[in-house]
């Protein structure tokens, strides 16, 4: 199994600013993922982050808005850029393990005012 530390756990940000969320895994993993969970909703995949290559974004998500870094096999960041109140959500990172299971960080609750 993998233990994933995500920070910050929550933040309140002004519109127009950016926030970078960090995700640290306690072991090396090939793929990491970033999900968004809007209030009262399900999880939607933003992008897949592989080490050494650009992230792969899902439909409706773009790199300019959600730039992702994956500098090594245990760490990734997601930046939410030029924030608006519509970006208020929970953002979760996850790590694939053996191709059969995904482990999750505890999530970042973002409120944009």
């Amino acid at each position: 199994s993998a233990v994933i530390s995500q920070k910050p756990s929550r933040d309140i940000c002004q519109r127009g600013t950016s926030l970078t969320i960090q995700c640290q895994v306690d072991s090396q993993v090939t793929m990491m993922f970033w999900y968004r969970q809007q209030p009262g909703q399900s999880l939607t995949l933003i992008a897949t982050a592989n080490q050494g290559s650009e992230a792969t974004y899902e439909s409706g998500f773009v790199i300019d808005k959600f730039p992702i870094s994956r500098p090594n096999l245990t760490f990734s960041t997601l930046t939410v850029s030029n924030m608006s109140p519509e970006d208020s959500s929970i953002y979760l990172c996850s790590a694939e393990w053996g191709g059969t299971e995904a482990f999750f960080g505890q999530g970042t609750r973002l409120t944009v005012v």
């Binding site: 993922f33 399900s42 299971e101 505890q106």
Partner: protein
């Protein structure tokens, strides 16, 4: 494209009773994984149970079991002897191949009454 549907936004159960949460999915793939995740108010996603599509035998984990009907593309979760700590949002999820990528259903909020 694969989809996952949970048609029960909310369910409630008496403590010590049994409850079943429903999930259907759509895929043209033959090899995949299905999961149930629990999300308590802490937001932490906790894996409850996993089913490999190639296995006919239904997965069980202590008080949790699934009814996997591959032909019907149905994957329900049964919670036996419900406990107050089972109260949470439950998500059914489809695992895309060996990618680790998950597609989630809309979620079912489970209330456990003492």
């Amino acid at each position: 494209a694969q989809t996952v549907t949970q048609s029960q936004p909310e369910m409630s159960v008496q403590e010590a009773e049994t409850v079943t949460l429903s999930c259907t999915y759509d895929t043209s793939e033959s090899d995949y994984y299905l999961f149930w995740y629990k999300q308590p108010p802490s937001r932490q996603m906790i894996l409850v149970i996993r089913q490999e599509a190639y296995k006919q035998q239904n997965a069980t984990e202590n008080r949790f079991s699934v009814n996997f009907q591959k032909a019907a593309k149905s994957f329900s979760l049964k919670i036996s002897d419900s406990q107050l700590g089972d109260a949470a949002m439950y998500f059914c999820a489809y695992g895309v191949g060996n990618t680790g990528k998950l597609i989630f259903g809309q979620g079912t909020t489970l209330q456990v009454k003492p």
